[in-house]
């Protein structure tokens, strides 16, 4: 729930909870994140929470993505200054 809300807050777009879980599943399959099950609570209808943690491979992939975006943004600035 927190992951989905954070994405909504940062992107300004509404995403479904199913889309968030499907994406997290793919990231987990690639070894970018890992998950573990928390304690069930009454507010959740007695259902357990699933907590995610970013792994070293995930951090590396994120850095590569950030560098790519930065270099693309730099390229755009150079074009605009021409």
């Amino acid at each position: 729930m927190i992951v989905r809300r954070e994405i909504e807050k940062r992107t300004g777009r509404s995403i479904s909870i199913g889309a968030a879980y499907a994406t997290l599943e793919r990231l987990e399959a690639k070894g970018y994140v890992s998950s573990f099950t928390g304690e069930p609570t009454a507010e959740r209808g007695g259902r357990a929470k699933r907590l995610f943690r970013i792994e070293a491979a995930g951090k590396r992939a994120l850095q590569v993505s950030e560098q790519t975006i930065r270099s693309m943004t730099g390229l755009r600035s150079r074009w605009e200054n021409l």
Partner: protein, 193 residues
Amino acid sequence: MRHESPPVLVCWLLESVVPARYREAMLGDLIEEYNLRAESASPPIAARWIWSQACRSVASIAWSWLRSGNWLISMSIAAGVYIVVGTLKLAVDLSISRLVAPQQATQVVLAPVVFLSAAAIGGCVAARVRRGAMIFLALMVMITVAVAIERKVCTIPVPWWYEFGFLTLGPLAVLITPALIGLRVPGAAHPGK
């Protein structure tokens, strides 16, 4: 804090569609946020939100499932169950028409019993092997009945609702029987995994 119950149909829909690996966690997240919204806004607004989430989530999960290629395995299992149970049903139909009940009236009464039993058995077998196979089997049953109605396979004159019953109750028997008898679907026992 008072806990509202989310619409039963939403829970049923998601429990049927969401993979067992994250079913519990996802439903828990939805219920938790539904309660927060019901308290801060109102239960009808929270209900509208949970319905929108459920419908969009089903579409996302279906797309993700199609991309993963798992549907091919499910479809193959469903086809196998369809062939085996279909052959058994055909054998029972032939036995009934030749030996037990050559009269048309008796056949009209016995045909739905045999058909629904076969659909229910097929549903249970498919669900036991793989949850997705059950959905494919229901679709196969529906298409078979629709083709049979369109091609007028039944030579005995019957009212429209008789054929409509086959079209609706057949797929429903496939989908509902495993849940009714409390059959354990693979993966459901360890939702966290």
